[in-house]
Amino acid sequence: MTFRNLTTTAAAISAFAVPAMADINIGASLAETGPAAFLGDPEAKTLRMEVDKINAAGGINGEQINLIIYDDGGDANKARTFATRLVEDDEVVAVIGGTTTGPTMAMIPVFEDAEIPFISLAGAVEIVEPVNPWVFKTPHTDRMACEKIFADMVSQGFTKVGMISGSDGFGKSMQAQCKGVAEASGVEIVADEVYGPQDADMTPQLTNIKGSGAQAILNSGMGQGPAVVTRNHTQLAIDAPLYQSHGVASKQFIELAGTEAAEGVRLPAAALLVADQLPDGDAQKPVVQGYRDAYEAETGEDVSTFGGHAYDALYILKAAIEKAGSTEPAAIRDAIEQTAGFMGTAGEVNYSPEDHLGLTLDAFEMLEIKNGEWTIVE
């Protein structure tokens, strides 16, 4: 048939990848580059590494996974295009991704329309509230991080908090959530400063916080900004202790900030960073140790919680496909929603029709940097 030949030729010429038939096509759109690459890069690496591992072990239900990752650069419009491509062209049965909230929200209508299950790796509460039947997420929400931090502050008698936030999506989103839960948590925000994610010096903002009477400082941000904030905090010799967010939860942060400056910084994070300090017998210990060792051996880079989110999403999906015994998107969705007692890097996940986040506040540990190492705060 001439017409068919023509279309096939066109497809071949335009060099769009045509997936093989018998595999399970799983898609992902992540911010491998762009401002959120700090998050998206370990996510993509984790997915590639773990999918290879699963395939080497015989795949899922005897079928190989065909992983298709697109780099949306953190741009919502690009993510939307890749979402369409995953659905229409790659014919995936499930999608992982959306490194940050904007791209995630832009992609949701596509998957909702096509009825494809979607597990997001972004932080905001809006992704799962209100619950969309097709949308799940693996990371803790920003709101949980805020609550955990404020609880720790209050327990130490700090009720006046100075906030300093990155102006990127991550920082702004958490800034808004923290301000929202501050009153209920029993703290007052006495200073609210912002910096650009690439800024070289935050001493003006910190000087103002210093003068505001804040008893503790909370920095919501990711990437290199928090490292500069931490160094400036030490430079200005501010007495109020510094809390970071889960956005810097990797060993690399300590290197960037410098051991001396990072001393005493606290942050809420999953057990991944302190795998070895978990008590023996903790159900999470083997999971996080296994993932961390594999990741660090494979990439030569320090493990971060963001890669962990991708790890959790992939294995939740794997379990669901195995349970459903089918690669029908609807069946997979139902099985994901029934996920119970799944032990991931972020904690124990229990999804339900009303809860597509599945994590509780217990999943967070409060960590403190001591002598250049993460330690669990008792």
Binding site: A37, A200, P204, A227, Q235, L256
Partner: protein
């Protein structure tokens, strides 16, 4: 009062970073009227190569030197392989080539160096100097001193050396420059080498403060370009003053008005200055010749 001083220190630190990037723009611009959008990538390469050479065990000064020389080599390659073959193309086409080069260099860095954020230690430790209740890090002084040194060197280069004057002549009138015996190819190659080297030096000096990763060049080029325009493109004095002014404006806005809108304030000032002085603070007013 100590607050103001702290804001000024912060502004000078940041401003010196901008000034160093802005100074890198001047030579290529003076030789060819092209604003090199890959200038930020030169800064990135300087920082990244130093990071990796240092991590490989070389002493920091040697690592930095290697990075600067290698980046200058990249600059020469960019001129020989991309700018020279496009000789005679409109300036806007050359600018698109430098935009392509910046994407290309970022892509190469991403493959070679990965996407992690890196840093190497400050040259003289992290114990801040305390002056009048405010503090400044030793590395900030390195950056400020670096900016001043490059400025003086460039100033002398353009006003006192024959080569510097040859660069200016090439920009003014390429044909005439060739007629009086200036090897304009060589001038262009030299300009790219020097601009790249200045960029790399900036990268070496600022990395202990700003950290570095494969994509830091974008934001640095943006601010460096804005600083150069504020001061007047092509004039080393303009780059220095423009950079420092921009940094101080941002710090004062963050300190006294709103940290949320500090970048906005900087651009509003740039717009205001340009409305009054369309060629920037130190730019040369061009008379229309007909």
């Amino acid at each position: 009062m100590s607050e103001l001083l702290q804001f000024l220190f912060s502004g000078l630190t940041v401003g010196a970073v901008y000034a160093l990037v802005a100074l890198g723009f001047t030579i290529i611009y003076n030789a060819s009227d092209v604003v090199n959008f890959a200038q930020g990538e030169f800064v990135m390469l300087g920082g990244m190569m130093t990071v990796f050479a240092y991590a490989a065990g070389l002493p920091l000064p040697l690592a930095a030197l290697i990075a600067i020389v290698a980046t200058a080599g990249v600059g020469v390659a960019l001129n020989k392989l991309a700018i020279e073959p496009a000789r005679g193309a409109p300036v806007v086409s050359l600018i698109i080539i430098t935009i392509g080069a910046s994407i290309f260099l970022r892509g190469v860095a991403q493959v070679l160096f990965g996407k992690q954020i890196h840093r190497f230690p400050s040259f003289s430790g992290d114990t801040p100097f305390r002056i009048g209740g405010a503090t400044i890090l030793p590395q900030s002084l390195w950056v400020i001193a670096g900016g001043l040194t490059v400025f003086v060197a460039l100033y002398l280069f353009f006003t006192k050396t024959l080569t510097g004057k040859a660069v200016l002549a090439t920009s003014n009138n390429r044909l005439a420059a060739q007629l009086v015996g200036i090897n304009t190819n060589w001038v262009m190659t030299l300009s790219f080498a020097l601009s790249a080297a200045i960029g790399a030096l900036a990268g070496v000096l600022i990395t202990p403060i700003t950290n570095t990763s494969y994509d830091v060049g974008i934001a640095l080029a943006l601010k460096g370009f804005a600083a150069a325009m504020l001061g007047g493109m092509g004039n080393p004095k303009g780059a220095l003053v423009g950079g420092l002014l921009l940094g101080v404006l941002e710090a004062l806005t963050a300190g006294y008005l709103s940290s949320q809108y500090k970048d906005a304030a900087a651009f509003v000032i740039i717009l205001l200055v340009l409305f009054i002085m369309p060629q920037g603070l130190f730019g040369i007013k061009q008379t229309e010749r007909v």
